[in-house]
């Protein structure tokens, strides 16, 4: 992945053209090229300048901002994480109950209504929904701000906005926007799971034991349908973090998504590469977490232990 990105970024024009005034002299250009390691052939740039630095824990200095790319990303990561986690929570706490309801009553108007809603959630493009949300809630109704992060609180050296009222208000629209697709996805998954589980003998047996409906639904059924949902949500959480680009751009949310867009526009090669490395790392980490959660939920995949 890194190689592909590196080469494709290399092919995308000359960063010095963007960085220096068009009337700068050739010496200035050469000096900058030398500093940024751009005067060497591709393979040397890759192995000597890039891999060498990475092995020393250095992902490069941003061409544009003149700070290390990792520093830049980690400064803006909390904003994205905050947004992604909010969206994930919305997806879980809205998607699963609605999906189970639709699965338990597939023929009722409620069930059909929920499914229609999920089709909309799936098919409406995120950027358009984002713009519509701004138009409705920020421009027409003036209930919520149109963009930005609002007030933030510093915890462990990171800025978070979900702890202040102003920040929460700013967080609401982008989180809903980002979550919409995931909610639709979770609704479909939990509906399908519920419809499958509801006819299982163990649910009938649970009813034959005289258990109350809430206990059957929220323990016996939920725990069984959670397994596929966790798998998908794990992967989707990675993509929430990685590809919140659209939402962040629409809502001027200062996260890594908008950083990526800016960096691509300015051909800021080290930032883009560092960003992608981070995303890859996140996906791996999330998959590990999903596997661990799996074994908590499903005793059949636990290794070792009692037999």
């Amino acid at each position: 992945m890194v190689v592909v990105v590196f080469i494709s970024m290399y092919a995308l024009g000359d960063p010095t053209e963007v960085l220096i005034a068009p009337d700068a002299s050739q010496e200035v250009r050469d000096k900058l090229k030398q500093e940024l390691c751009l005067d060497r052939p591709l393979h040397e740039q890759f192995f000597y300048c890039f891999v060498g630095n990475v092995l020393h824990g250095n992902l490069g200095i941003s061409f544009v901002h003149d700070v290390s790319a990792t520093q830049l990303i980690f400064d803006r990561l909390p904003a994205t994480l905050e947004l992604a986690i909010c969206a994930l929570l919305l997806a879980i706490f809205i998607g699963i109950p609605l999906g189970m309801l639709a699965g338990l009553k597939p023929q009722s108007p409620i069930g059909k209504g929920i499914m229609t809603g999920s089709v909309l959630g799936f098919s409406l493009p995120t950027f358009w929904v984002g713009l519509m949300l701004i138009l409705l809630f920020a421009v027409t109704l003036k209930w919520l701000p149109a963009g930005g992060r609002g007030e933030t609180v510093q915890i462990l050296g990171m800025q978070f906005s979900f702890l202040t009222r102003d920040g929460l208000i700013h967080l609401l629209l982008p989180a809903v926007n980002l979550a919409l697709f995931k909610i639709a996805l979770v609704i479909r998954l939990s509906r399908a799971g519920t419809m499958e589980v509801v006819h299982q003998d163990y649910i009938k047996f649970a009813r034959a034991k005289g258990l109350s409906t809430p206990r059957i639904v929220f323990l016996h059924m939920l725990k069984n349908i959670l397994i596929p949902i966790i798998t998908v949500l794990g992967i989707e959480f990675g993509s929430l973090i990685a590809f919140s680009v659209v939402t962040e751009t629409v809502f001027r949310w200062p996260g890594i998504g908008s950083l990526l867009i800016q960096s691509i526009a300015k051909l800021d090669r080290p930032v883009v590469v560092a960003y992608l490395l981070l995303v890859v790392f996140m996906f791996i980490l999330i998959n590990l977490v999903v596997d661990v959660v799996y074994s908590i939920l499903d005793p059949r995949v636990r290794l070792g232990g009692r037999s």
Binding site: A208, H220, K223
Partner: protein
Amino acid sequence: MNTSTRSLLLEINSLQTWFDTRAGTVKAVDGVDLTLARGEILGLVGESGSGKSVMGYSIMRLIDLPGRIVGGSIKFYGEGTQNEDLVNATSDRMRRLRGSHIAMIFQDPMMSLNPVLRIDTQMIEAIQAHAKVSNKVARDRARDMLGKVGIPSPEERLQAYPHQFSGGMRQRVAIATAMLNKPELIIADEPTTALDVTVQAQILYEVRKLCRESGTALIWITHDIALISGLADRIAVMYAGRVVETGLVRDVIAAPRHPYTAGLMGSVPSNNPRGKPLRQIPGMTPSLSNLPKGCAFAPRCERATVTCQQVPQESPVGAEHKVRCFHPIESIPAQSRHDRIKV
């Protein structure tokens, strides 16, 4: 084991359970009368699709849509209950009855326990659904019951998950769960069909013993007439949603009066001469959505006449022996036949 000498526990009158499907109404149970005394073991026998499982689910009121109980009554005379009709009981009332007064055991032990919950969770919740009992007490009761159904080291096994048990062990767990609240009636829907023969025999023996000890009545639903003849006090043979013959096991087995029962008995392998093809009942079970007019068995019956275009009523042919047939087989001294049946 005589019905009249014991008090009545369950009285089903002309019960009808129908399923509305696109292809028409499926009359899975269509006018069944049954009675059950306290502590009695009733074998409910029939082919696949005869409506015997639907009977069991109807009593539990666990019929899922598109099925519904259309008519009839299920009177339950349980201890501390108001002799109510289960057909009209509220769903909350049914929830209270299920598991405490009436329990059920299912056919496939691989499927009837929740795979993601521990055995203790699944057993304790069955107790706590009906009585305010501390976890500790409920757990002790669950453990004792597991011991009673023959599960070794029950204390440790409580901690296990269903996938750590074999099929036979799982069915024992299911039986233990059903017996936790000392129900007055257990409905067993082919609980040994999915198990191999040796395990089948053990489970049969244990269920019978437990029911006798605790005075629990049992409805054992099965297609295995040879198996039921060794277990039950009374037998009811179902065909196409109706009970065609009912009586004490020894009477029905020794001298079946309905041609269908006789056909079933005749097709038990041990009742067939060696080396000859097995006898069978000609034809197929009729589709329940398109039953023949009159007696549903008539098209397959060699005794059928024009009269069989009418629906036969239940008529007594002996003490507690009733049959739904215009041309019942005459009572023959079938001593030799009885001797041949392995029970």
